[in-house]
């Protein structure tokens, strides 16, 4: 029934939420800035599609990992800024740990080959 919100580039499942949470941990920011940030930090290797970003943001809101509020940006635009909650902070830790376990496992498999 529901269209999956995976990015078009192959990406490990759940990593988009991890990246968004990580980005929000730096400071509260709005959707466009989140996408720009991830792109910049990944040195343009990861390009976040809006089609994935917004459903992911909604999932984060549903799970109460972040809250959203309208603000005025420096250049006078009305932007919707996402702020990490305590639960989001905790979740970031969990996701990070999970990612490292997964990453390590994959690396081990690759090394063994």
């Amino acid at each position: 029934m529901l269209v999956s919100a995976m990015p078009k580039e192959p990406m490990l499942p759940g990593t988009l939420e991890l990246l968004v949470l990580r980005t929000l941990a730096i400071e509260p920011m709005h959707g466009y800035a989140i996408a720009q940030h991830i792109q910049k930090l990944s040195k343009d290797a990861l390009k976040i599609e809006e089609g994935s970003l917004y459903p992911a943001l909604q999932r984060i809101l549903v799970k109460k990992w972040a809250t959203a509020a309208w603000r005025e940006s420096l250049n006078g635009r009305r932007i919707r800024v996402y702020t990490l909650t305590a639960a989001g902070q905790k979740q970031l830790g969990l996701e990070k740990a999970r990612f490292h376990v997964l990453y390590g496992a994959i690396r081990n498999v690759l090394k063994g080959a």
Binding site: H30, Y54, P55, R77
Partner: protein, 882 residues
């Protein structure tokens, strides 16, 4: 929710647009032209609508997930307690099923719109005589004409007569049932023919040119094979030289009153003849102008009646007009009965809800630990309520599904076994309105049942509940109070309905115990209309001869005990009214009595079973010869037999035999000598005083509208074919109509009463069962909850019998408390249903006491098992279990 959803959409929309704008701005900074920048940004961004949709779905998924999870929890936890689940679902099914079925019945009869355009503007108008207390009588042409001319709130008004059977000319005479109606009849009902133009305006006809028929759809098919060129087709009726022209066919679904094959114009000739001012033999139906009310109509009719009484005192003095909506005319007493049904079924539904609420309360009590754990794990009050609500909804939905099925079945059963005389049976169905009511009933029942147990959760002291390890915390007391209230409510509702059922049962007994004064069993009644040669102007003597021969032929037929010609078939709704006056000479301002007139053949007394009190019955010698009956000779005095009421009214304290009276207005045989008196008979209705009945011998006053009464040796219905054969053997061109066992006509008169009794009794029984189950459940819960206390008491030396009695008392006291309210409700209900009751001024102590006794006895039995369980409490077991 809607508001939140709109807000969500607006936020997301703005956010996406802002994002797009920023992207565009970035491309602009990168040095792209404005057009190119916008295109690139849009291309990168993808379809905003899809993004929007996907983002919203995230929330929907959560919502659906929650519901699914709650449903799963509810179903799982209900599945763990199959007995409870079954009891709750069954209770809901009975309550909702009864409510839906009863609503379908009440709605179909009393509330579903009639199948006419703006049916609320159609009224029936009657004449009532204030002097003789005759209400809602038929109407004379003179009065009708006055209404048609002088009442402005009427848009269309029409007369309609009784239907009669004619024979179509042809090799095999086809009977055709025809009703005379004013040409405006179809305008009144807002119906137009399917084929043809229908009648012309009344002014376009005279009595002699009104040979046009509008056919019913069924007659068009049956008599004319559905001929598509039917409009304008000519055919002939026996005994009539003028051809009949078909000017229309009504649609298939058009119906009014009893079904007929055709309508033909009834023309009021102006000025109205004096005799037609006194003959009140037709019916009136009218359509109000848009925006006019029936009260305005009534006011105008009053004025018209006064004017008529001044202008035509001889025929209109004392007569007033009575108007009522067509719907009321059709459903009669069932309008009020429908409200009663709805009230009763609401009580049953309430009892069912109380029952399930009680069960859920008991369940909540048993779940104190589970609840406490959920609270400890962070479930909010609202979340708990959601869970319980879901459970209640699952139960109610399952119950409602079964209930609607039950209702459908009940309604089918009722329609199949509908008593004769139940109006609008074909309109009773479980359809949209009933289903809507079922839905509302289900939702509200679920809400009530879920919220009542919540009452006890407020003071939950978490550590207490967890540590106590059993259901003894503060909310037990609250719950106990709730459950007491529920039991009281149920028993009150049950008691009210049981008393109502008793009262209606006794009312019906009163009704059937009435002595009719004659014996309807094994008597068959029918209309017979022999065709007489067209060249005889006054065929009365032929009718006399025909009747004698026919009766002789019938009585020679096996299976027939006695046969008689008459003018009135008892209880078929038609009577012949006349007025009589004492003595031979007209006196100014003399008293006149309204009587119903029966012109009968010699065998009549034995056929219907009249009891002769004084004098004699008619003999074969009570006859006039041909010259008298054809008006050729002088008219001698006739003889008559009267009922005791007539004798009492006209000649109080005198010997009625030998007295004389007149029938002013009814032409032939103006002077009658009373030769005998029969016991009072009820020929028109069971309730009320017997009418004044006058009998004349057929051979002295034969008429052109004979009816036949035949007493069978065994079953009236079985002789119908033989009677038919004999009638046709006597005269093959005889219209035969309304062949009915007379006993079923009498039953039809009491059928509404019987139906009301049966429905109320079923509801009473249902409420009683629900109350018993409720009391049983509540006391079982109390006994379980109080097991520790009981154990301690028994350990301290309380005897088993004392324990049992104290448990019984605890179970029964809420019943007694509810019973007080129930008795009061019963008194009020009976008061409201007064007009439906026969032989009851108000509810009597016997009915109240019987009802209370029944409810107490049943609930006592329901309490026995849990009370015995309390008495058998083994203190060691209980205390060890702690």
């Amino acid at each position: 929710v809607l508001f939140r959803r709109r807000r969500f959409d607006a936020d997301l929309h703005e956010e996406l647009r802002a994002h797009l704008a920023e992207r565009e701005a970035a491309y602009l900074r990168d040095g792209l032209g404005p057009e190119a920048a916008r295109r690139r940004a849009r291309l990168d961004f993808g379809n905003p609508a899809v993004i929007h949709e996907q983002s919203r779905d995230v929330w929907l998924v959560r919502w659906l997930d929650n519901i699914r999870r709650d449903l799963a929890i509810a179903v799982r936890s209900l599945g763990r307690t199959p007995a409870f689940t079954l009891a709750a679902v069954a209770t809901f099914a009975l309550g909702i099923g009864a409510a839906t079925a009863m609503f379908s019945v009440a709605y179909g009869i009393a509330f579903r719109p009639l199948p006419y355009q703006h049916a609320d503007r159609i009224v029936r108008i009657y004449e009532s005589n204030t002097k003789t207390n005759e209400t809602k009588q038929q109407v004379s042409q003179g009065t009708f004409q006055a209404w048609r001319e002088g009442v402005t709130s009427i848009e269309h008004i029409a007369l309609f007569g009784d239907s009669g059977v004619l024979y179509m000319a042809g090799d095999s005479p086809q009977p055709i049932t025809v009703r005379r109606v004013s040409p405006a009849f179809f305008d009144v009902l807002g119906a137009a023919p399917l084929i043809g133009a229908g009648f012309k305006p009344e002014s376009a006809y005279t009595r002699f040119t009104a040979n046009e028929y509008v056919l019913s759809h069924a007659a068009w098919q049956r008599l004319f094979g559905g001929d598509p060129d039917i409009n304008g087709r000519l055919f002939y009726i026996r005994e009539d030289d003028d051809p009949i022209r078909v000017v229309g066919v009504m649609p298939k679904d058009f119906a009014f009153d009893a079904p007929v094959d055709a309508w033909r114009p009834m023309i009021v000739e102006l000025p109205v003849a004096r005799i037609l001012r006194s003959w009140r033999y037709d019916n009136v139906v009218a359509r109000l102008r848009a925006g006019r009310t029936i009260d305005e109509l009534r006011a105008e009719l009053d004025v018209a009646s006064q004017r008529l009484a001044q202008e035509f005192p001889a025929t209109s003095a004392g007569w007033t007009a009575t108007a009522e909506p067509l719907r009321d005319a059709i459903i009669g007493g069932f309008g009020r009965a429908s409200w009663l049904f709805l009230g009763a079924v609401a009580a049953v539904l309430l009892a069912a809800c109380a029952n399930v609420a009680g069960l859920l309360t008991a369940r909540a009590l048993g779940r104190t630990r589970e609840t406490s754990i959920r609270v400890a794990l962070g479930a909010g009050r609202w979340r708990l309520a959601q869970l319980w609500l879901t459970e209640a909804f699952v139960l109610a939905a399952a119950g409602a599904t079964a209930g609607v099925g039950l209702a459908w079945w009940l309604v089918r059963l009722l329609r199949a076994a509908a008593p004769p005389g139940l109006p609008r049976v074909e309109d009773i169905a479980v359809d949209m309105p009933a289903l809507a009511v079922a839905l509302v009933a289900t939702v509200s029942a679920a809400l009530v049942c879920a919220l009542v147990p919540l009452v006890g959760t407020r003071d939950r002291s978490l550590p207490g509940a967890l540590s106590a390890g059993s259901a003894r915390s503060g909310d037990t007391r609250v719950r106990r109070r709730v459950s007491t209230g529920l039991v009281a409510l149920q028993s009150g509702a049950a008691l009210a309905l049981v008393v109502l059922a008793i009262v209606f049962g006794r009312s019906f007994l009163n009704l059937t115990a009435v002595d009719l004064g004659w014996r309807p069993e094994r008597v068959l009644g029918l209309d017979v209309k022999p065709s007489m040669p067209a060249n005889v102007r006054r065929p009365w003597f032929l009718y006399a001869q025909w009747a004698e021969r026919l009766v002789a032929r019938l009585e020679a037929t096996p299976g027939i005990a006695r046969a008689a010609i008459t003018t009135v078939i008892p209880f078929d709704g038609r009577v012949i009214r006349a007025e009589i006056a004492r003595g031979r000479t007209l006196v100014a301002n003399e008293a006149r009595w309204p009587v119903s007139l029966n012109i009968v053949s010699e065998g009549y007394r034995e056929t219907v079973g009249l009891t002769l009190r004084r004098g004699r019955w008619f003999t074969a010698d009570d006859r006039f010869d041909e010259s008298v009956l054809t008006y050729a000779g002088p008219y001698p005095d006739g003889v008559a037999v009267v009922s005791e009421s007539v004798a009492r009214a006209l000649w109080p304290g005198e010997n009625p035999v030998g007295q004389q009276f007149r029938l002013p207005g009814l032409g032939r045989g103006p002077f009658q000598t009373v030769v005998g008196v029969v016991a009072d008979v009820r020929f028109a209705s069971v309730a009320g005083e017997p009418a004044l009945e006058v009998f004349q011998p057929w051979l002295q006053a034969p008429t052109g509208v004979p009816r036949l009464l035949v007493r069978a040796t065994s079953d009236a219905a079985l002789i119908a074919p033989a009677v038919r054969a004999a009638v046709l053997a006597e005269n093959p061109a005889t219209g035969i109509d309304r062949v009915t066992p007379v006993e079923s006509l009498v039953e039809r008169a009491t059928a509404p009463s019987r139906l009301i009794r049966n429905l109320i009794a079923s509801l009473g029984l249902l409420a009683l069962v629900l109350a018993a189950v409720g009391v049983f459940g509540a006391l079982s819960m109390l006994v379980t909850a109080g097991a520790r206390e009981t154990a301690v008491r028994i350990a301290l030396g309380a005897s088993p019998s004392a324990t049992m009695w104290s448990a019984l008392a605890r179970g029964l006291w809420p019943v007694c408390a509810g019973a007080a309210g129930g008795l009061l409700a019963a008194v009020l209900l009976v008061q409201g249903a007064q007009s439906l009751l026969f032989g009851f001024e108000r509810v009597d102590a016997a009915s109240l006491l019987t009802g209370a006794g029944v409810v107490l006895a049943v609930t006592f039995v329901a309490c026995l098992a849990p009370a015995l369980r309390a008495a058998r409490t083994d203190p060691l077991n209980v205390l060890r279990a702690e």
